[in-house]
Symmetry: D2
Subunit: 473 residues, 4 copies
């Protein structure tokens, strides 16, 4: 067990970042590397890049951060002018190189590589279909399923992608590498983000988030539409509809927590949405207090918004260790009891005698909030008013976010008042669902299943996270 | 060359964090690990822990972050009840395991280990003395010099430490391990921080910064006085004067940039000093602007202070990639030209049409400021007013900070107005020396040599950083 | 390029060792490890073990020697009571972990693993069939083809194996892991060896060579017959015919060079066959000489046989560096010229003034023989009579031996007399084909294609070693 | 515990190989690499090379085989025209990089590096002297002691080496690197070998064994005399006496077991001495038998000599796994019982019904002999007559051979007849001390302390192998 993950358990986890590029005459593997670097926040477990030079495909992937996986030497072997790339945070399957992406195979139509962000709700069914067709599976990753479905299809790649989209239920933002084209595909609900960038007249790219475009000097063109297929090749960019439209169900949590604040999602800069959430929260749940502080770093934009709206001064009350990373060293029993101190330290001078509004972006398990509040009180805060910029999370996510199982979600078990008592806050308020949507600036079009239990895809397909592991590990 | 350091070149670099602990019945290596974890910001090049069980000493050190260097297995070999530990950022010498600390040897009085933060100005002289005595040196690290000077001394450890202090000129905050005691030593000028913590009736520790105490659950007792020797052993804590007092010369940059904001230095919480610097800066150099933003993350407290004093709203205008780490991948020529984007992205929505105050804690080489300002303008800022929370840096540091050589310091070559033009700011202002000291709350007692050229120790001893490397690499 | 392989280039290369075991109550992974250890001579590029506990399968594989790949920790994860294992020397495909074996997948019938020694002559055809069925391939290894063919078959495992055998042309000695049984399969020609061992009433195993049985304390039962399928499971050992008999074509080179001398192949101890080859060679090609020496170590048994028959004393004339291993260090031009000295040094005292018979097991490219003879002459040998215990090699092998391409085989280009002059021997003689078969004790039943060009399977299927690499690398 | 060493425990262990070279215009690090490669049999625990370019010294060392420690990249950093190199097998101290050699320091006279083969009997005394002088020690290796003694001396290097030789008691064959010269030093007893080679008019080298000269194309010049100092520099080779002559005490075991058979020791080719030992053994202890076999590979020359003299045919009866290497995998209890099978397998066809003479070079603990004899009997041998080409080993070695402690030496506890019964041989005979010396061709001049207890240096200095480890690990 990697103990350090205990520190992270009280946050939802994004699972993956994807990237694809077509750019003749450029070192596409190097550009892919820097794009992954910008998307590192979407997954730190493994990284991989697959390239094609129009004839042969090459791949390198490994466990760890992008900067650990790639060296000049292995990058040098990735020659070509089109590429896909992937950062993985495991949702399905245990951490192992076998589950690292992209997944790359040889097919009748040449090499085929897939990088996937999301989660197929009907993966067990699709897996069973493949096994029944006599196709074996080496891993528990959805991307292998998708790759093998495409390999076993008929017609050209676009046709096969359409066939896949007709069968797949769930979240998938894909980049696909073939011998001479890169494809970008977004599921008809649009759960996870996917954007298009332009490098020059011949160079195009596709990325999970627009922050990757800025990093490699690409111009943001637009977001890929739900249900859309994008093809990048010698003919430039080609877009077409891959699946009939479904009710849009963009993931609200990309706005609340996952996406990098400088990314654009659903036409809005994420940072602005977060400040708007904080302002809305201040309107809905004002507090009689002296200062506003954030749970750093993810709650900072929301707290700034709260401060702006409330007129209370924003300041820093908690310092986060910037070098928190995975360690295999177990804390002693005593250290574990006050484990939150390994990550956060309070600033007594800012807190002493103060009535504090503590703004958090979300509460998942509720295991961190209590210790944090105790920390603030020990540092002199006389009152702690917790304000949460998302509604209570009461249901697990099946579209690719590693949130927690229902029974581990504190708001699935306790009322707001019970949570308040549990974490020891003076007052506790969550933003309302309506308020949140208002701050986002949309009435509908988002998946709020984690707050409401209303799953856009339904839940007919039973989903068991590690099912495959029963057979091969 | 590790290219990623190019990104970091425009900041001064702290060199080391030290720790020492005496705590019978506890796993002192594990506590040392978590203390190093909290001090990681002071050095990321190598880490090491040496322990003694009262008879035998054991050591483990390695290149990289604390979490990379230590495993349960190697920690398990570090049995004992007293320990010292070290995080290194190289100032003297090239990066190699040979320079990793602590340095541990066998002597007539048993094992002797030294962990050092600082820089001995007269190291070449001390080195020559050792060589003339016929003592060979295996590394270019000051800690080997100190260890060998102590080993070659006469009398008990306290006497030897006094003898060393009488000869050494420069900055040294040390933790020393002997068979049955841990010592903490701070140079008579007090350049670098060093604090004392208490764990229980028998358990004591010494650390570079108080943030390490909080992390391992120790109570902050007080700072080690300049010139003081602290001994931790079976008799508890013993303190005595090791060298006659010198004019105090605490490093101002600990307040401005180095120390973790939650640490206490010279009796003040560093975060508060930073906010006060921002407020003083606002008083000295107001700006006719709409918003205040920081160069994240180090400039954030100063910017918040500036906003509070000026009444302008604080917001975020630049997003920093939180996963910036060393990479061996070189950016292509095109990416290099806009290299600042690999680290920072602007938030156009917050900047559009705005007159922006950009608060930075310091400007060293000035290579980042220009690109950042261009970034802000491209994102829509109509004016950019740069405010710097420290005076112009005109002189190199010889007390253990890797700032840059004189010729690389932009303020050593250009006037403020020339710098303003060079970086393309609408206005540029630095805090005054007097204003800075006022914000810190002290008239004297600090080393401001990097701003004034007035070196507290004088500069009689010629110092050449890599001199030793001429002989052995 | 790994230069060290230059030293090995003048020998044929065996490609793989396989092992399978069913042994309830025993640590089958550990036994597999020691079996691989005994089979290490058959492949040093990668090693792997897959186990099943009757429900779940686990696998570990890695690049390098068995002792480098496995640790107590990774062995500990391989819990189960049935296992297969593999040592690989690459014939098809470049060295990469992706080609390491066993290959393990999930199928409708549960986990399926395959370890393969040999080479499928019609692999391109079989690969095409799979691709046309829409099954993608991730590697260039035959074992993936076999696994996917079995996965895509119908009926129970025995039926599927039969179906595979009906389609496959070439050399294959396989061990196969399913959820609750281990299978051993040998192609109908019997190219490569495969033997059965018994551990106790419940425990059985299958191995490439009998030396592995001795090492783990198993009793040699018999060789697997060409075309036979062996099943090991809870019902003990079950044997049946899997394919109609073909003309037996056992690989003569197993006797000459590949197999460990203490192994049994075709009912004969290999070491005895080698001595018999030496004796036959002495009868066919006596030499007027003083001493008999070997090209160590592989030529030693043949040389001892030659000495026994000729009555000349056997002694050592060349010392081989026992630590020859792969190195990435290139010799300088001067060292390269006398590269043979890095591997062999002469013993002048034994050679001085002597007429020497130098016995080698085979000559492939002929690049080593010349330098060796010069070495002997410089050390004082007055005459060097080369005797080779196999006939001239004139044709490449397509059944799994990495011999060299036709154009690199010296005997494909030059006559015996030309070779003699080329290598600078006083006389040169090869054993006759008939003499070789007489020494082996068989008239027919062996594949001598490398000497005759008469390929048992025909050569209708074009075979290109790295073909797949064109598509994915 | 590395279990594999259990397999090696029944052999004495050589500790080190040293090399030194002066060769302007050549890549001396590369030549050192190949020299270490040839000396690999003298130590497999660690390897290192230190070079000087006349100004700066560089070093690289690491754990493992030479081919594992060095890469083109780290070799590339070792630029210069003079070098020393070292292979280590640990005798003093536990395996750790800290004890790897060469040991390199900076001194008043420039860089100083030492590579050492041997063992200083009075190391504890010398160590104490250093500690009393106030010089600390970082390791438990003798080479650090020697380096620090030279660094602390007075006068030029030759004078310091003489001073060292006047104080040191025990075995030392050294190569020493200074800024512009390489020295070779052999103790006045001449315990361990050391030879001189010539590369061209300017290029000279010094090596533990002549096999290294042949490998790098150097011409054997002569052996370094006991007590002699050799200096290689811009003036070519200079030789002088460093210490007054002592009674020569060359290590007999170099002839019996350690040296590579193609090396020259005391003017004789080692392989010839081994054959002569076998012949003498045959004369002293004939056997009524059918065949002669060796314990491979070290006993083979002795067995060939025995066969030649006795007229019995030499053949192979035991096959040794050529890939025996260190493994961390523990055999199960059952495998451990028959552990000898992991290393050796018998050849029943050669043994069946035969009366066998089994020739071994030596018996140390006697733990292997019994299992080997049982193996031979199970394989059909009707009689096993053990003949040992060295006398019974009754005393530990203090001159650098890791033999075993007295109590572990079987011949120190049991008579020859008791040993015969213990190992289950039909007859057992050792060569006589006189016969051994006769075969070597010398009356005196050798150290036979392990057979006689007559230590050439006396044993006044108490020697405790891991003493230093009590203080630092």
């Amino acid at each position: 067990m990697v103990w350090e993950r205990w520190l992270e358990e009280d946050q939802p986890h994004e699972e993956c970042g994807v990237f694809g590029i077509y750019y003749p005459g450029e070192d596409v593997a190097r550009l892919s590397f820097f794009a992954l670097y910008a998307l590192q926040h979407r997954g730190q477990e493994s990284a991989g890049i697959a390239v094609s030079d129009g004839k042969t495909a090459h791949i390198h992937k490994g466990m760890g951060l992008v900067a650990q996986v790639f060296t000049e030497e292995n990058l040098h072997h990735l020659q070509g002018h089109l590429a896909i790339a992937h950062n993985r945070y495991s949702t399905t399957g245990s951490p192992t190189l076998r589950n690292a992406q992209p997944y790359l195979i040889e097919t009748m139509l040449g090499p085929l590589g897939v990088a996937h962000n999301g989660n197929l709700v009907n993966a067990p069914l699709l897996r069973r279909d493949l096994l029944q067709r006599g196709v074996g599976l080496t891993s528990s990753s959805d991307s292998e399923i998708i790759t093998l479905m495409l390999a076993g299809g008929v017609g050209d790649w676009i046709t096969r992608i359409r066939t896949f989209m007709a069968q797949a239920v769930g979240a998938y933002s894909l980049t696909i590498l073939t011998r001479s084209a890169v494809f970008g595909v977004r599921d008809p609900w649009g759960f996870r983000p996917l954007v298009i960038g332009r490098l020059n007249s011949e160079g195009w790219c596709i990325a999970s988030e627009s922050c990757a475009l800025a990093t490699i000097g690409a111009k943001f063109v637009r977001e890929v539409e739900p249900g859309e297929i994008i093809r990048l090749d010698a003919n430039g960019l080609h877009a077409e509809t891959g699946a009939p439209p479904r009710k849009r169900a963009l993931c609200t949590f990309e706005h609340i927590y996952f996406a990098r604040p400088d990314s654009i999602f659903d036409g809005k800069v994420v940072h602005n949405v977060r400040q708007a959430l904080g302002r809305q929260l201040a309107r809905e749940a004002p507090a009689d207090a002296d200062i506003v502080i954030a749970v750093p770093d993810s709650g900072t934009p929301h707290a700034i918004g709260y401060a702006q709206e409330s007129g209370l001064p924003f300041t820093e009350g908690l310092i986060k260790n910037r070098y928190i990373g995975r360690t295999f060293i177990q804390p002693s029993e005593r250290l574990r009891r006050e484990g939150v101190r390994l990550k956060y330290n309070p600033l007594p001078a800012n807190l002493e005698g103060k009535r504090v509004v503590l703004v958090d972006d979300s509460i998942v398990r509720g295991t961190t909030s209590g210790p944090l509040i105790r920390l603030l009180r020990e540092a002199g805060a006389v009152e702690v008013h917790v304000r949460v910029a998302s509604p209570p999370i009461t249901h697990s996510c099946f579209m690719g976010v590693d949130m927690a199982r229902d029974q581990d979600l504190i708001a699935a078990r306790l009322s707001v008042e019970e949570i308040r008592r549990h974490i020891g806050a003076d007052t506790l308020a969550y933003i309302s669902l309506e308020g949140m949507m208002k701050a986002i600036g949309a009435d509908t079009g988002y998946c709020n299943a984690c707050f409401t239990g209303d799953y856009p895809t339904g839940l007919d397909e039973s989903f068991t996270k590690l099912e495959f592991e029963d057979a091969i590990v």
